[in-house]
């Protein structure tokens, strides 16, 4: 996805072919996380894992407009972004399992999933920490004379941390091509963010910092794709930072250990109906795609992730020696 061509210009219409590719990415994310969920329940994933099931359209829609040379930063809930940016699901699954061949040799796990080779600068265990990192990466790319857009993902909980203000202000005053993407899934852990967020919300905050903000249905991959496409294009043409407020829903609990059933049942039901997979599928059906074709995409994704699961489960632990490598060049771990 990360090397796909820019979206059609001139209007919100996107080609069915393009949506098909986005749908495929979403299916891969969903299947990856369903496999991860299973693995966690089976005790194969020992650390915390945060699933983005229900939020796949944002990852796919935004990253579908990025090149491999573009960059992203992510959050604790980063599997979707990482897959959409082009990382190997096999290596990612190994990382979640803490096994050899993981993206970070098993030293990071889900919360520190990263693939720098495709411009994925890392998930982060600290809420909002990716925001300044994204700004600095964009600034450095400009200094190096390299073109790159940076997409910066964070949640609705992150808008109450200081780095949100500092990082958006920073991107504005230095006029950096950072696409801020607030994935608003209504909750921060067990807390409704509405109750914790003063004023009109994330978009108004961005605007007050001089960053143009665009609210959108984050579960509609066609809409996300069209908007992200337009904003990325503007940024490539030299425009400054932009802000997407993507409204979505976390279908699962906060972590794999949380059933998430403490939320209102009607709310959950409502959003299960407004599932991004269903929306994209319906669009494709309406555009003439055959159900069998779409089922095949799903099945392929599931197969890929089942294989990743098996591969990870069969992989050895990382070599003990790795514990002490990559700490620093100068000054041993003693």
């Amino acid at each position: 996805m990360s090397t796909s061509s820019p979206p059609e210009t001139g209007g919100p219409t996107v080609s069915a072919q393009r949506v098909r590719a986005l749908f495929a990415t979403m299916c891969r994310i969903r299947a990856f996380e369903e496999a991860a969920e299973r693995a966690a329940k089976e005790g194969l994933i020992t650390g915390a894992a945060h699933l983005s099931i229900g939020q796949e359209a944002t990852a796919a829609g935004v990253c579908g407009n990025l090149r491999t040379s573009d960059l992203i930063t992510s959050t604790h809930r980063g599997h979707g972004h990482t897959i959409a940016k082009g990382a190997s699901a096999d290596a990612m699954m190994r990382e979640l399992f803490g096994r050899a061949g993981g993206t970070s040799d098993g030293k990071g796990g889900s919360m520190h999933i990263a693939d720098f080779s495709v411009g994925m600068l890392g998930a982060n265990g600290i809420v909002a920490a990716g925001i300044p990192i994204a700004a600095g990466a964009a600034q450095a790319k400009r200094l190096l004379g390299e073109d790159a857009v940076v997409a910066c993902f964070f949640g609705d909980g992150a808008v109450n941390r200081g780095p949100f203000l500092e990082g958006l202000n920073w991107a504005r005053i230095y006029d950096l091509p950072v696409l801020f993407v607030c994935e608003d899934n209504r909750y921060a852990a067990r807390t409704r963010t509405g109750a914790m967020t003063g004023g009109p919300g994330p978009a108004a905050r961005a605007e007050s910092l001089g960053v143009p903000a665009h609210p959108i249905d984050g579960n509609d991959v066609m809409a996300v794709d069209a908007l992200a496409g337009q904003l990325v294009e503007e940024m490539r043409a030299g425009g400054g930072p932009q802000f997407i407020h993507a409204k979505t829903y976390r279908q699962k609990g906060h972590t794999v250990a949380d059933p998430g059933t403490w939320r209102p049942a009607e709310e959950i039901a409502q959003f299960l109906e407004h599932d991004p997979m269903t929306i994209a599928r319906q669009f494709l059906i309406d555009a003439g795609a055959g159900p069998a074709d779409l089922d095949a995409i799903v099945a392929d994704a599931q197969q890929e992730m089942a294989d990743a699961y098996d591969s990870a489960a069969a992989a050895p632990w990382p070599d003990d020696g790795l514990a002490a490598t990559d700490v620093q060049d100068i000054g041993g771990p003693a």
Binding site: T46, G47, H112, I126, R161, T191, W262, W317, D320, V327
Partner: protein
């Protein structure tokens, strides 16, 4: 006596103090829903949302607001979730909470308890596993507590809440489910600054605290099997720390190992070792030894994570090397 878990012990202690003193309140992310580890379960139901305050993800302001609230006569118990997140509130902790009383010439006090669970726990990796107690011991103004048992978690949290100084209160995440007895009635506190001999012995002293207490106990058992009698001093309070208890023990055993989970380099073990060496160097049969984590961020994969832990075998090797 009742048997409770380490986690329940802290919840009981907080509830008791909140009943006793209406100026005690607590704030932090999700505390109204019981807290991320369940250590606040039921408190909002009893005390309401104004005294059990769920907050935004705003560590700097959770801590900064607590400073202001403490200055004007309340006793906030701050929940920072993981000691690692405390780094997001470091200015408010160190430049404000710890210094305010002094730099304002005693005009105010900042009686705030800062709960920040430490330690390795289930592949939590580099950003959720740190033990930074030595930072706070180095910082003037702070009391630093690190209970290793349910009883101490109960009794020390109560003392912390009653203390007029800002208290860094470090529970160990791996201890939440450890069971133990606590006194009934809810009026018993554990004094700040007093260590506890949790196993008497003759040949060698292990000074330790927090999660490492369990390792020390196992090692002492193993050592006993080899005829070596180990005395274990659980410091519990790191600042002030009970020098007298340590000196007394070492006076008897003449051999000291300081054992902690934190990185060995510049860990609090260095302070204990340097102090004991300085004060009673000539009475030591052999130099003080320290055991702690290697100086590496904590890795995720279970076997790698385990390499950062001091294991019973490491203690045994050290004991042997000390020629007991």
């Amino acid at each position: 006596m009742s048997t409770v878990t380490y986690k329940e012990a802290s919840c009981l202690a907080l509830a008791e103090e909140m009943r006793r003193d209406p100026t005690v309140w607590t704030l932090g992310e999700d505390v109204g829903d019981g807290g991320v580890f369940g250590q606040y379960t039921g408190l909002r139901d009893e005390f309401g949302p104004d005294r059990v305050v769920s907050t935004p993800i705003s560590e700097a302001t959770i801590m900064g607001a607590a400073v202001g609230a403490a200055m004007v006569g309340t006793r906030p118990v701050v929940e920072l979730r993981f000691a690692d997140f405390a780094l997001c509130a470091m200015d408010e902790m160190v430049n404000q909470a710890a210094k305010a009383r002094y730099m304002f010439g005693g005009q105010t006090r900042v009686p705030v308890v800062i709960r920040q669970p430490i330690g390795m726990w289930r592949s939590s990796a580099a950003q959720h596993s740190q033990s930074l107690e030595s930072w706070y011991v180095h910082t003037p103004g702070f009391v630093v507590l690190a209970p290793g048992t349910p009883a101490d978690n109960h009794g020390l949290l109560k003392s912390a809440i009653r203390c007029d100084d800002p208290v860094i209160f470090m529970e160990h995440k791996d201890s939440w489910d450890v069971e133990g007895e606590i006194p009934d009635g809810g009026d018993k506190t554990v004094p700040i600054g007093k260590a506890k001999i949790i196993r008497p012995g003759e040949d060698l002293t292990i000074v330790t605290w927090s999660g490492a207490v369990q390792v020390a106990l196992q090692a002492a058992e193993a050592a006993a099997g080899k005829g070596v009698s180990v005395e274990i001093v659980d410091l519990r309070s790191l600042w002030p720390w009970d020098k007298e208890a340590v000196f007394q023990s070492v006076e008897k055993t003449r051999r000291l190992v300081v054992l902690h989970e934190a990185v060995k380099v510049c860990g609090f073990g260095a302070e204990v070792a340097a102090t004991v060496s300085e004060t009673m160097g000539d009475r030591l049969a052999t130099p003080v030894r320290r055991l702690g984590a290697p100086r590496i961020p904590i890795p995720y994969a279970p076997p790698l994570e385990n390499l950062c832990r001091v294991r019973v075998a490491d203690v045994m090797t050290t004991v042997e090397e000390m020629g007991v």
